[in-house]
């Protein structure tokens, strides 16, 4: 930005000083490049290289031997063919979809509810608002270990509660039933994602001027109508950011699932992320693991592109 604004006065200057100006301009450009250097180097080193390496790895027979011999024979599309035709792939893809949609829907609705709730000031609202952040502050491994314990079939606190209140006769197999495990994992992920949604949406709500509500109230728009015609349209840009970032974060969730079920029972909670992890770090077929994670990256990229588009439109408005 500064490079384009600087030459403007130079054009009107007298010819004799031009060489000096040009030299100065060159030094200036050098400095700009040097300042850009660290950032570019950082991006290339920590983003560019791994991504390129991962894409390449997806086309190689990259196994344990590769680490010792350095040989990674070219595999063409073998890894992708193998991965996509595996019976597990469809399960993982469907689970990834259900997990993402379920998590985002739950997190967003509850997060928005909490954000709206905390718009009002009431005694202890500050304290309560900071308590909402709690799930965010607990390390994910700890959170999943505690949830695994809470959801245990025989001795988990939740089942103890359900049985003692007479709602069920025996413990519900939250994490060990093939039909319930995914629901339980989604529920835990919703719990973890609420603070993010609530905080960002709360921030967005703060940006809506009170005058609008006052004016709306004069015209009879209160409660639901106020939300529908004032809050929602004003919040739209923030909502799109929250949703798209949420999708990208949720697609790659690994630790929570590994901590709760390890992808089981019978692959009922296997997602593309866990499948990629298992291929790479349990069966040590890094080529296939990279292929799955590349598929995941492409899915994320689609959403990132949507995000950038929405973002640009929001700025244009």
């Amino acid at each position: 930005m500064t490079t384009t604004t600087a030459p403007a006065p130079a054009r009107t200057a007298a010819p004799p000083v031009a060489p000096r100006r040009r030299a100065r301009k060159r030094t200036h450009r050098l400095v700009t490049t040097l300042f850009l250097g660290p950032a570019v180097l950082y991006l290339v080193l920590f983003y560019g290289y791994p991504v390129v390496q991962n894409v390449v790895m997806g086309f190689q027979h990259y196994t344990i031997s590769t680490f010792f011999t350095g040989d990674a024979p070219w595999a063409g599309l073998d890894n992708y063919r193998e991965v996509v035709t595996s019976p597990l792939f469809r399960t993982a893809l469907v689970n990834t979809l259900l997990f993402t949609v379920g998590s985002i829907a739950g997190q967003f609705v509850l997060g928005l509810g909490l954000a709206l709730f905390f718009r009002r000031r009431f005694p202890l609202s500050g304290l309560l608002r900071s308590l909402v952040l709690l799930p965010w502050l607990i390390p994910l491994i700890v959170a999943s270990a505690v949830w695994k314990w809470l959801l245990d079939t025989d001795s988990g606190a939740l089942n103890r509660l359900l049985v003692s209140t007479g709602l069920t006769d025996t413990g519900v197999p939250w994490l060990t039933s093939t039909s319930l495990a995914l629901v339980a994992v989604i529920a835990v992920n919703v719990w973890i994602g609420i603070p993010f949604n609530a905080v960002i949406l709360h921030g967005g709500l703060q940006g809506i001027p009170d005058e609008l509500y006052e004016a709306g109230a004069l015209d009879g728009a209160t409660r639901w109508r106020a939300f529908r015609h004032i809050t929602w349209p004003m919040l739209r840009p923030v909502v799109s950011v929250v949703l798209v970032l949420g999708v990208v974060y949720t697609l790659k969730v690994l630790d929570i699932i590994l901590g709760l079920t390890g992808g089981g029972p019978a692959n009922a909670t296997q997602t593309l992320a866990t499948q990629s992890y298992q291929l790479s770090f349990a069966t040590f077929d890094f080529g296939q693991g990279a292929a799955v994670s590349n598929i995941l990256i492409v899915i994320s990229l689609v959403f990132a592109a949507v995000y950038l588009r929405l973002n640009r439109r929001a700025v244009d408005e």
Partner: protein, 427 residues
């Protein structure tokens, strides 16, 4: 929010022209200064291997918990002292060992002595990362067939286990007496015992059916003793064994949580009195013995028909290897240390203190003299089968298929035969 962002970035050029009039060279210096640490960082990457003394050997193992950590450490130190070298030992968690070895392999920093879990040995040996024992002069005779099979790749021995283990049936003595049940010896007796021992606050039996190699490992004794073959897992014999486990869960004599339990969790359930019997290994004995008021005993896992079938135990335990580091002098020293480490006295003392069975049958009698209660395990070890004996480096794929079948059957997703047929597709 977006609007606000735009206006703050728009504010920066306003201050821009001001610094254009100042001398530029200082800026250049600052910028170069900013780059300097990065350059230093990059240069530092080249010098990662620290020089160690020629008589110091690096050791990598997974014994992070006591008593194993101290016992193995003492045995290593004693062996090193006899050879006249010092050891620099690192212990990492079992989950991260292979990842660590791969990192070290690719950066040329493999240790001089390396411990591996026995089913991983052939896979690592197939990469040329290890040195064969015959080339190093480490004695390889006198071990059980299972240990030799686990340590052999392509006809040459690459690793040996000083002491080994397997799994058997632990039971709560007072619980069985109270229910009037004898320790089961057949599958039918096991079913009946589990049913008789189940109470509202307690399951008859606990075992590990997790979606991990531990789940595969616990299914293997039933699978093998019934005639299952890992080269063709979809067989009636394999289905019969899986039916047994699925029935125990299906009829409520084992918790559905077995799908999610590690072997350590199984032990916790047993200790807490929430399971009257459990399938587990002797490495739990030190902890079980420390529990006040817990009276337990161990028997061989039942077979379907003991008159025609023999109990086949899967071989567990860690093998020790000499990685190919390229430093032949150190490889020689490492071989000498391992030879001492695997000597009779060293083996016996490790076996005794770690509640594991010596890898050489010749030492069994002396071992049982010191630890008579280990008789059930010592018997099983003589015929224990290595997981990689038939499939070698291909074992992990089949192991994955087997735990997939276990999960499908135990969760009621599929009958035993269908579960195995479906899992066969993963191989």
């Amino acid at each position: 929010m977006q609007h606000r962002c735009a206006s703050t970035t728009g504010g920066i050029p306003a201050g821009g022209p001001a610094w254009h009039d100042r001398p530029v060279s200082r800026r250049a210096v600052t910028a170069a200064g900013l780059l300097a640490p990065l350059a230093a960082l990059l240069a530092g990457c080249g010098a990662e291997r620290s020089a160690t003394s020629p008589r110091t050997l690096r050791v990598l193992d997974t014994y992070t918990n006591d008593p194993d950590r101290t016992v193995v450490g003492a045995a290593l130190d004693a062996a090193a002292a006899k050879v006249g070298v010092t050891l620099e030992r690192v212990s990492v968690g079992g989950d991260s060992l292979i990842q660590r070895v791969l990192q070290q392999g690719s950066s040329g920093t493999l240790p001089d002595i390396l411990m591996l879990d026995n089913p991983d040995l052939q896979q690592i040996a197939s990469t040329t990362a290890l040195r064969p024992f015959d080339a190093l002069g480490i004695p390889t005779d006198g071990y059980t067939d299972g240990i030799t099979a686990a340590g052999t790749y392509d006809g040459r021995v690459y690793g040996l286990a000083p002491t080994v283990n397997t799994i058997a049936l632990f039971y709560d003595v007072p619980a069985l007496e109270e229910a009037g049940v004898e320790p089961p010896t057949t599958w039918d007796e096991l079913r009946d015992a589990a049913a008789a021992l189940t109470r509202p606050d307690r399951y008859g039996i606990a075992f590990c059916g997790a979606a991990t190699y531990e789940g595969t490992w616990q299914y293997l004794p039933f699978f093998w003793s019934n005639g299952g073959d890992e080269r063709r897992i979809a067989s009636p014999e394999a289905a019969g064994a899986l039916d047994l486990l699925a029935d125990l869960v299906g009829q409520g004599h084992a918790s559905t949580s077995v799908l999610n339990w590690s072997q350590a969790d199984v032990k916790d359930q047993f200790v807490a009195g929430r399971a009257a019997m459990m399938v587990n290994g002797p490495w739990q004995i030190p902890e079980l013995s420390a529990v006040d008021g817990l009276e337990y005993d161990v028997v061989t896992l039942p077979t379907r028909d003991p008159s025609t079938q023999e109990a086949v135990a899967p071989l567990g335990g860690e093998v020790w290897t000499v990685p190919a580091t390229g430093d032949h002098a150190k490889e020689k020293l490492a071989a000498q240390v391992l030879t001492e480490f695997l000597a009779d006295d060293s083996l016996l003392s490790m076996a005794e203190q770690r509640s594991t069975v010596p890898g050489r049958p010749a030492l069994t009698e002396a071992f049982l003299g010191r630890r008579p209660e280990m008789a059930a395990f010592a018997d099983l070890i003589q015929g224990a089968r290595a997981r990689t004996a038939e499939l070698g480096p291909e074992w992990p794929t089949t192991a994955t298929a087997l735990y997939t079948a276990v999960q499908l059957a135990l969760s009621g997703q599929a009958g035993a035969a269908d579960a195995l047929a479906e899992a066969q597709e993963y191989v």
